[in-house]
Symmetry: C3
Subunit: 303 residues, 3 copies
């Protein structure tokens, strides 16, 4: 069973419906060979889209990924690489970086993208995202950076992450190319994107959403909040009803059911979890099952 492929716009590109996320890749402690094997196993499952950011372990995730795929010539052409820029974290070890901040200047976007190419040891990114909405964002500067990177063949497609609708519209109005995704948090623990207009906007304008933190960082599995307890109870019940192997699958099926085209990011480094997640596409929640989970999330039934 392999994951389906989805077009991010009528003209492409095609990404895999599930995305492998490398945020925590350094904690997996894989050798280059092991990381390569993990990546190849993802590709075998159809999970060809790989999510990075310049700040994941301060560039080390991109470098480890680059070192791994270099071991297997030809692998680059079988995958789509997404990276992000715009956040500059504070570092205890670098006194000159004393406050978490954003930088969406033309210079920084270009420099960050070029550094990602060096880290990843590839010639182009398939997609570059602005990581967070920056109150200092000058949309013309971002648009100029995107255009230059595209002309130079360094980045093929562009998008954003964690943007509100007004921020998305502002940036889109300045860009000559379509913004193809908004990567946002969606999980049964955090359903705000379902009601704040974000997913309405994505559906209307055919913007794919990528979903991060679908499992809410483990809160659903081990959290002691009333919400987590309600969710576990319902998810276990629904898992039994639909023949899911675990409640992770129910959660992913719940997200895949959203009418906007949502591409969940899998954050695990264990291929058996990816294999389990990929199987989710075959599962189907009926509307009562779906709204039971909504109800467990909010603590009340729909009005």
């Amino acid at each position: 069973m392999t994951v389906s492929r989805v077009k991010l716009s009528p003209q492409g590109p095609e990404f895999s419906r599930f995305i492998a996320g490398f945020w925590r890749a350094m904690s997996w402690q894989k050798s280059p060979q092991d990381l390569l094997a993990f990546i190849e196993q993802n590709v075998e499952l159809g999970v060809t889209t790989m999510d990075h950011a310049d700040i994941y372990s301060d560039g080390e995730c991109e470098k480890a990924f680059g070192a791994a795929i270099k071991l297997q010539p030809g692998l680059r052409d079988k995958i789509e690489i997404v990276s992000k820029c715009g956040i500059k974290p504070a570092f205890d070890t670098r006194p000159e970086r004393y406050v978490n901040h954003y930088d969406t200047s033309k210079e920084h976007i270009i420099a960050s993208a070029e550094q990602s190419l060096l880290n990843l040891e590839v010639e182009s990114l398939d997609m570059l995202l602005i990581h967070r909405p920056d109150p200092l964002m000058d949309a013309e500067q971002v648009a100029a950076a995107f255009s230059l990177l595209q002309q130079q063949g360094k980045v093929k497609h562009f998008g954003v992450s964690n943007f509100t609708n007004s921020q998305f519209e502002l940036l889109q109005s300045a860009c000559e190319m379509p913004l193809l995704t908004n990567q946002i948090e969606i999980s049964p623990v955090n359903i705000s994107a379902l009601h704040d207009g974000s997913l309405d906007y994505c559906q209307q304008h055919k913007v794919s959403a990528m979903a991060w933190s679908c499992l809410a960082g483990g809160e659903i599995f081990t959290g002691e909040s009333e919400q987590a307890q309600r969710l576990r109870e319902v998810l276990i019940k629904v898992a039994a009803e639909i023949g899911a192997a675990n409640i992770d699958q129910v959660i992913y099926a719940w997200i895949l059911a959203l009418p906007a085209q949502v591409l969940p990011i899998i954050g695990s480094g264990r291929i058996e979890r990816t294999r389990s997640t990929v199987a989710t596409e075959a599962l189907q929640l009926d509307r009562q099952q779906w709204f039971s989970i909504w109800q467990a999330s909010t603590g009340h039934s729909v009005p």
Copy 2:
């Protein structure tokens, strides 16, 4: 004195400025003959638009209404019938319906509209509304259902209820016909539609609003909250100033004063209350009276 008629769009249709609501019709315990008399008295007052939903008493309201108007041939052509679909409530008596949920699939919209036609014993609805915004709403499916129902002559016009602006825009973008109304809650107890952009949007796009729960379910008359007490005091004062017969009239005049075209729904089964409400159109609040009520609602003066 009869109620004025308003166009929902330059091309029509014309509805009555006040709407008779049949949500609680089963609690009125009227015989078919009594319900017919009530409907005919409404029509005499100019209240020709009748508001239903598939879920009001699980279809019994529509059926009682249908049985009543069948007693008087020709009555159907003097009224406009609105119904709604999209909510599927849980039922204690039907274990297979165990959770309140929404269904805005093409199949359900069509099935619900057709069932409403059977219940009401009429050949067409004048207007069908999606009752609640559904996080699973696929706008293309709703649009396809609307188009088919219109082509088949089963429903003439379409709208929504309780939609936010982003949900309205999403659905409108997919529909070939204009959505003519958003039926929302407006009362001196709940003024959120005045400030969350809903009525701004209606005014800008010439979308009529229908207002439900204008009297806030009696909270204003008997509630012990500070807000209810403040409101009663001001409403009684204003009633005396403008020569209103009761504070209901002041509330309706306060809603009619809104610059978007708002059509209040009357929820009562007593024709004397409808007669009193209809007289509201002759009353006029000045701006200080209007803002006194706003101030009593919020507990502070405008900034």
Copy 3:
């Protein structure tokens, strides 16, 4: 050193980047000669745009300003006068005005603008703003008033104040001329405009923002809240880093750094404070300094 000039639209007009605000002018207790001297000193500094409203001291501010500039023929042509209308405050001394309210009727807008012309003893206003969003605003009426005032040469340009995006869009959709500004509250104490979409909208649609209460009414200087204490500490640190004479300058530099074109209003009657403020344009915050202030405002770092 004089203040730069900015175009409010490609076709003009040009206003000064900083605006002199006369809200508190009566508390300055200046003679007409002193007020004239203050105005001329502002003009020497390049601060040629003067912000009024019909309600500032119930018209007395406009009258005092008019009496002052009349003393110096030719001065009128060197300045841009902004006024506002739409608020009708309650007055203890006028029992017929018993509640703070808004009035955006065509008649009131025209009458208020004409009264401002009389008060200021000038033939035209450079700009008229609707002071607050009015839930009773009929956009067509406002548009009709604006068109008439413009045709009669009484007001050259138009804008709004404290409007949300949906209210701005509503009014703009009805007006034949562009609305050139939204005058809103922006300060390190109140950063909501940076995140509620207001400044996104301004940037996208090239609408200049005017900023009121930039110093938060002194809260930053003397407030005992945790936020005020955090802000003072950071502002003092940044002032030393960038060579600012005082923390006011840091605050204004923080606002000038916003990517929408923001024109801060100076509320002081002391020309030395204006002189200090004007010098802000030469100061530059780097992004870490800017986000340190954002962090002190919110109490947490950016996500």
